[in-house]
Point group: C2
């Protein structure tokens, strides 16, 4: 008898009919003899509706109260799911993040999990019940206030609870059949990846693959918890995320997949005095504006001028704050101008085999050149190569790279509507 943790996103429980279908799937697992703990997100658009209500009463609602408000979303979905399971003749009990022992920092809206003390869940399992846990939420260690974990929070809850319970596997149910060699909406013959290491999955997630959030994969790697990514709408085998690159056989497939990310913008600081410490000063300023910088490129100093250009990418939504912060230090640093470009896209190739095969980068650039894609920035890691290009070239770049490395399969991937949180 195994202990299985299952996580269902908001689109999987968007209405009463879908909740009943999820209940049947959970009961099927229980019938097969396994203990089941379920993590559930808020129903469909609940979170957006609650945010809309909040903004009707306050332009800038305090974080503590916003978290109190938003956590009612999972409270509703988890209670309904427990009812639907009861109705199938199985005992189910729902638990808030606080009741399930999800202890977090007190950073409202972006709390991090410190510890999980799942005593009540263990009691429920011992008594033969299915435990339903609210995703995305916890209780702060210091203030005992209700917190939310921010984007990807429910996946992280699932992995953290699975690790605390020493579960055999953490199943993440989503609206795709698993992790693919590229986004099937762009590359119709993208192939499902059967098994992938934590490191590769981290790179994919960091480079724009939406199927799993970075922090959830980080958590899983830290605790060695296998993640099984599966579709809520089919019984296909999905993708297993587990194991380290170090354990891979040398003959392991060279390349894992192609990720793309249209959500970044590029800022160029023009005419920066080419003196030690200037770059550090600029990026300290950007960091103080709470901006997440991704890639950075510094051009060679233009001969004779003693000045250089520095470009970096960041999430589009962080753009205004970063531009404002940099604008304030223009005179002091003495750079000449700022350019903001939100028509860029990033495409990345990821593969554990890459580090021992120096030809990969050459083939990658050749494919882009052949497709007529102009490269604006380049960044690499041991198992990844990424470039920034025009956003209008992004899809063509993904297809060209996917073809060049022969990543496609025979079966067409199925894509469902909706997203979770």
């Amino acid at each position: 008898m195994a202990l299985v943790v299952q996580k269902y996103g908001g689109s999987s429980v968007a209405d009463a009919e879908r909740i009943k279908r999820v209940a049947e799937r959970i009961v099927d697992t229980r019938k097969a003899g396994d203990d089941v703990v379920v993590i559930v997100s808020a129903m469909g658009d609940t979170t957006d509706e609650l945010l809309e209500l909040a903004h009707q009463v306050s332009p800038l609602p305090p974080g503590r109260e916003l978290d109190m408000l938003l956590t009612s979303g999972e409270r509703i979905s988890m209670a309904l799911l427990a009812m639907a399971i009861h109705n199938l003749g199985y005992e189910a009990r729902s638990y808030t993040g606080s009741q399930a022992g999800v202890i977090t920092t007190s950073a409202h809206g972006r709390a991090r999990i410190i510890d999980v003390t799942p005593g009540r869940l263990l009691t429920a399992l011992d008594e033969g019940a299915i435990a339903i846990v609210a995703g995305f939420q916890g209780v702060s260690q210091d203030t005992k206030d209700i917190t939310t974990l921010g984007r990807g929070g429910s996946d992280t809850t699932a992995v953290a609870v699975a690790a605390a319970l020493r579960a055999d596997v953490c199943e993440i149910y989503t609206d795709v059949d698993g992790v693919f060699t590229a986004d099937p909406r762009i590359v119709p013959n993208a192939r499902r990846i059967e098994q992938i290491t934590y490191e590769e999955m981290l790179e994919l997630a960091a480079c724009g693959a939406k199927v799993l959030m970075l922090r959830c994969v980080e958590y899983a790697r830290r605790y060695g918890m296998p993640i099984h990514v599966r579709s809520s709408y089919s019984n296909k085998p999905g993708t297993i995320v587990s194991g380290s690159m170090e354990d891979l056989p040398v003959e392991q497939a060279l390349i894992t997949g192609v990720a793309h990310d249209p959500s970044e913008a590029k800022i160029t600081i023009v005419g920066v005095p080419d003196e030690p410490g200037e770059a550090a000063h600029l990026f300290e300023t950007v960091a103080l504006a709470e901006t997440n910088i991704d890639m950075i490129v510094q051009n060679v100093s233009t001969e004779g001028t003693g000045r250089t250009d520095i470009s970096f990418t960041l999430p589009k939504s962080d753009g205004p704050a970063a531009m404002a912060a940099l604008g304030k230090i223009k005179e002091k640093v003495g750079f000449k101008g700022l350019l903001f470009d939100d028509h860029v896209g990033k495409v990345s190739l990821i593969g554990a085999g890459m580090r021992s095969h120096p030809g990969v980068a050459a083939k990658f650039f050749a494919a882009l050149a052949e497709a007529g894609v102009n490269i604006e920035m380049i960044s690499t890691s041991e198992i990844r190569v990424s470039v920034v290009c025009r956003d209008t070239d992004l899809d063509a770049a993904v297809v060209a790279i996917h073809n060049a490395f022969d990543l496609g399969g025979d079966e067409e991937a199925v894509v469902y509507a909706g997203t979770g949180r």
Copy 2:
């Protein structure tokens, strides 16, 4: 500086605009220098919408999960109210029933408050914040599960929290201007009662006055907590519920008011053998069907037959269960038949001065006779006389009694739409 507990019902916080108005009223109290703790119900129709969702997934949802679901209603309204207060520049923190220390029995859907341990509320007040508490909900002492208090629960929460905090007053905001000498929808010149004792208010509530629930008044009497019933929509002075009958001056107004109740039905058990123990057996049977019996009348045994008729009233909704339970013992007890009549109404006259004025009952019956109202059952207490009549006679009976005792005022009462829970 006083400590004021304020309770706002669901219609007072039905949408963003009303929440903002309530926030202003709370801030006005705070500005006047008082500490404020607020108890709030779920917004408008939230509870009904959640119940509808529950019934979409399960015909008979388990009580634990139904309570988990319904308590999301106050979570939403209290967080929004705290945000609206923040937006006016005052610190406010919302607390669930569990966080506010509302400890209850574990009877889901109809839990009773055992104790209130308001440590976190006191800390919030000490730190200068306004505390917002979810009404209607608590946490069970034994199982630590979330519970709801059932009908009138938010009013009871307010009084219980006020008592635990040793507040100076518990203000219950509602959709009428206070407690009236009769329902202003039936008697347009009904007069607002300025001050009323707990005992009189208990009788009014028990006899159908909707403004305060019985259990909330019982709680207030036990702890000597003054209740101030006021309108959410005006600044009129309202009604103070406080003090005991024993403390009233002898010259206190004879009569307090007229209550009416159209929600009861009458069951008549025909031809019951007139032997000791038969009535007890019948009412034990009804009690086992979880029925609340109100008035009971037993006729004099019809001469020579050795049989009698017994009639009693009960909530209409309990009728089917009681009829079914009695039907099952018809042969065993040997009564001849059962009659169910849901076209009855009850009208009651309440007044602390009544006990020392034997003429009240006579005047009461004379007024009904003059109005052509036929009396079917009579019941009295020290400070109350009630009769059951046809439901079609009920309004006329209320008006006739109100006039006979000259209870009217000059000012027309204002009635607002909507109800709380």
